[in-house]
Symmetry: C2
Subunit: 360 residues, 2 copies
């Protein structure tokens, strides 16, 4: 594994690709009086792109390494690096829109893009508008980067189509995520199913399925095989990743994630944890949880009480079990691949990054 | 010219392509409780796509007819129809975002997408979020349609890249359009230049330049030739189109456009007309115009007064001159093409649709 040097390369390449796309080009004739705002948006594109964990790009590189014949590996590694970065650029764009939708002030410890642009222009309306456009630009950039990378690959014809399918899936996922907020809290089994379903679209789609699929396509696998295999490994892995993420929000992590505990509860997010807690709670606790989530906000005491109930009802334990089962499903899919032992082990190691919670 | 039958085919095909992309597919596993919202978004995708003038798709078809060798014309017409519709789908997505940015209630006489979705969900926050996602989905759909069309073309390798460049240009244009709102009214020459520059990016890019470019690429021209030629004809034409559109907003049209006169003035848009009026006005009128535009809204009496000043200062006449000059530039570029007389005439006819104001 060379993930620390991978990480550096991904970071450098991603920022350079975003810069190339977002800043005005030499032959872009733009009126001088409008240039400062165009520059501010381009700068924000770079700022918003900095400092991700790059898990998706890392998985793309490792999937390519696991599946590619040696001669393809050497020939196409640089194009695959671009393709890996394209997912990161796509994610940044999706997060810019997500922060507008959720009206979030912060992202990765800095002002969210639309907030920063509102401050730059002294106008929330213009800042939000520029934020919507920045998200659009990054989405376009991501496809452009993938398209150019695909044209450099020996076998890249299906890559753009798969990349656009990833866009579509995440967009459906965002729609479903908003739909879940309209779900009733009276049917926790349905809520848990709906939340897991949102994870498939909103998270697994681009976090684990697409990186595996792109790595395999670049390695020369045909579209059908790449898709089936990416789903078999990536779907359970992506669900486990999101469950682990939601769990860390409640129980905290040994690594300091920089996020205060209970953020999802404070925001009233309808998570699988909440559904499991409502499902296992007695009548009194059930009503307590539902009334907390139906009110417009939750204070610190209520956040602490909700965490207590997540623990006492066994919802936290249930999430850990779910994660363990999903991770085992994912490993079984890897085990069944027709690959040398060493390559399988490398792939397991690469996938394990998404479920730190079962490793510790 | 077969533009009425073209129009029918474009309308039918566009709606069918949007339906195919936006509605959940047979193998899309979506939780039942979330399905109604996903369906509402997909229905809105179709509603928002209905009833455009389809000028851009018509120009794409006609440009292909003007430039393509006979055998290419017969072989690739159906794929070019898809490509033409892809621009319409792109436009619909851009308008959905535009209406959120401008907080517009109406589009083509119906509730704008985010408003309709707010009514569906009884929540402005969720409706706006779904609107942002719908715009994203249509943008993705447009590239997907173009990518699939390109793969059916005999010479389509540069199409996706040109299509993404169109996305980028319009996104820059939207950024510049917001930037113009921060321009000072004290320098009308600069404002006129900045407004015309916005037209190049926000309008000409996808209204006239891209359709000509796509038609030529599909016809087999190389990327450089297609780009240069599309700019020579399409840039002045696109500027003339937007100037004519702004002019019709003030002087009305013989055809009933269904829009009340003076909408741009009511909204306080910083147009070339306004810049020309401020530039030619005497000191008293100048201050009158600036103070009208600097206030947060304009009443009906002020709208009438602004139109009066646009007329008396000669700004309306100046816009007509600008349109005539630009249209003449565009025709000269067509005239200089190495094409049979009949094909040149057809192209002039096709381009003339964008400047109805100089034909009447």
């Amino acid at each position: 594994m060379t993930s620390s040097s991978d990480l550096e390369q991904i970071e450098t390449r991603t920022l350079s690709l975003v810069r190339d796309f977002s800043f005005l080009h030499a032959d872009d004739a733009v009126a001088n009086s409008c240039r400062p705002i165009a520059d501010a948006v381009a700068r924000q594109a770079v700022t918003s792109s900095e400092g991700g964990k790059r898990l998706r790009a890392l998985l793309t590189l490792d999937a390519f390494r696991a599946f590619a014949p040696r001669e393809v590996l050497e020939r196409d590694m640089d194009a695959v690096l671009d393709l890996a970065c394209a997912i990161e650029v796509f994610q940044t764009g999706a997060l810019v829109h997500d922060d507008i939708i959720d009206d979030s002030d912060l992202r990765r410890g800095k002002p969210s893009a639309h907030r920063a642009l509102s401050m730059d222009t002294h106008s929330d309306a213009i800042g939000n508008g520029l934020g919507i456009m920045l998200g659009d630009m990054l989405a376009t950039a991501s496809v452009d980067i993938a398209d150019k990378a695909a044209s450099r690959l020996g076998s890249g014809t299906a890559v753009v189509s798969a990349f656009l399918n990833m866009h579509r899936e995440v967009e459906i996922g965002q729609v479903l995520d908003l739909a879940v907020e309209l779900n009733s809290l009276d049917n926790p089994a349905e809520l848990a199913a709906a939340s897991l379903n949102v994870f498939r679209w909103k998270t697994a789609s681009y976090t684990t399925i697409a990186p595996l699929e792109f790595g395999m396509l670049a390695a020369g696998d045909d579209a059908g095989t790449a898709r089936d295999c990416a789903l078999a490994i990536g779907l359970p892995l992506g669900l486990a990743f999101q469950l682990a993420d939601d769990l860390l929000d409640v129980i905290g992590s040994s690594r300091n994630t920089g996020k205060p505990i209970g953020g999802d509860i404070r925001e009233g997010k309808r998570t699988v944890l909440l559904a499991d807690a409502i499902d296992a709670a007695d009548e009194k606790e059930r009503r307590e949880l539902i009334s907390m989530w139906e009110s417009s906000s939750r204070n610190e005491e209520q956040v602490a009480r909700a965490i207590e109930l997540f623990e006492s009802t066994g919802a936290i334990e249930r999430s850990k079990e779910r994660i363990t089962e999903l991770w085992s499903e994912s490993r079984k899919a890897i085990e069944s691949l027709n690959l040398p032992r060493q390559r399988k082990d490398m792939l397991v190691e690469a996938c394990a990054r998404f479920v730190p919670i079962v490793r510790g």
